[in-house]
């Protein structure tokens, strides 16, 4: 208890949905206050053990402090107040925003190099490599990382398990329906870029395979990261 007198309080506040920033500050302030009270008691002649116990009594029990914090709804994290919004809609919005920003940057880069590109021909191998890399990044890397990122965030916020799982599944389904084309050939028409969303009823296996793969990668990444933060991950 002496080294981390508020460890249990910290965990209870996080589980209660108090924003991590407030929790960190609460622990910092309570530890500072506790140290000052212990020093007061020691100056009065108390022994170390009594001083610590008295300091803790003056501050109040964990139950009292938890009760007072949880009564302050304005201290709750937004992710805790609106978990459905945060962990199902926000990953989608983030995926679209990151993809649009990347695509815009790529088109701008091509525009800047347009005169140079018109005078050269990019070998087929390099052209395919660029197209394949764009596919990999947009259709696999971004959705997996974003879905895992939100799930890790959910774990840190101690959000109930279903929301991040639903978030991963929803993003995996949507990402599996996205198509991105980025062709860079050089020459008079140096390239083209395009993106779309849709699926064919004649070939449902492909998007389903993509959904499952993205979801599995996202779960694996989440598990990898959450092991480092907490002993009992929500995905254990």
């Amino acid at each position: 208890m002496a080294d981390r007198p508020f460890a249990d309080l910290k965990e209870a506040l996080l589980q209660g949905g108090i924003a991590p920033g407030h929790v960190r500050r609460a622990v910092t302030e309570l530890e500072d206050h506790w140290n000052a009270l212990v020093a007061d008691e020691l100056r009065r002649g108390s022994n170390e053990e009594h001083a610590r116990a008295e300091a803790r009594r003056i501050l109040g029990s964990d139950a009292l402090l938890i009760d007072r914090y949880l009564a302050r709804t304005e201290l709750r994290a937004w992710a805790y107040r609106r978990p459905a919004l945060w962990f199902t809609l926000m990953p989608l919005v983030s995926y679209v925003a990151v993809s649009l920003a990347t695509m815009t940057s790529m088109i701008l880069a091509v525009q800047l190099m347009l005169d140079y590109l018109k005078k050269m021909l990019i070998p087929d191998g390099i052209s395919h490599l660029i197209s394949g890399s764009v596919h990999l990044i947009f259709l696999w890397v971004y959705p997996s990382l974003i879905a895992a990122g939100f799930a890790v965030l959910a774990n840190r916020r101690r959000i109930a398990r279903p929301w991040p799982i639903i978030g991963i599944v929803v993003l995996s389904v949507i990402a599996s329906l996205i198509n991105v084309d980025f062709v860079l050939t050089g020459g008079p028409k140096p390239g083209s870029a395009g993106a779309g969303i849709g699926f064919s009823t004649r070939n449902l296996l492909q998007p389903m395979t993509r959904t499952v793969t993205i979801a599995l990668v996202a779960f694996a990444l989440t598990r990898l990261r959450t092991r480092r933060f907490t002993a009992s991950s929500i995905f254990d």
């Binding site: 206050h33 003056i58 402090l65």
Partner: protein, 112 residues
């Protein structure tokens, strides 16, 4: 044992904290000690529960914070904002109005 802070004291901790912070910026332990000294332990806030109150007041824009390193630890100092000063003025007015009413009843002025 009778409760030290009966229900009609609700809102008093906020008033006391705002009043203390109107004099100078303080950190939590200082506020608690100032309350103890000023009220000679009549008003028992429960020192740990100062912090949720302070955090909530910050979330409402009544106080602002500044962190500083002291004795090898990070210490959070609180000071009043303009909104906090306005809130204090309003709370003080309400408290004086209420205490005058109670005092006049206790003094028998309205009992004929």
């Amino acid at each position: 044992m009778a409760p030290k802070n009966p229900s009609f004291m609700a809102g008093v901790p906020e008033l006391v904290i705002l009043r203390l912070l109107s004099t100078r910026e303080m950190y939590g332990y200082e506020i608690a000690r100032a309350v103890r000294l000023a009220t000679t332990d009549t008003l028992v806030l429960g020192e740990g529960v100062l912090y949720p109150a302070l955090h909530a007041m910050e979330a409402r824009g009544l106080v602002r914070t500044r962190s500083s390193r002291a004795e090898g630890r990070i210490r959070i100092y609180y000071s009043l904002t303009a909104k906090g000063k306005a809130r204090l003025a309003r709370l003080m007015l309400e408290w004086r109005r209420m205490s005058q009413s109670v005092e006049s009843v206790l003094g028998g002025e309205t009992l004929g």
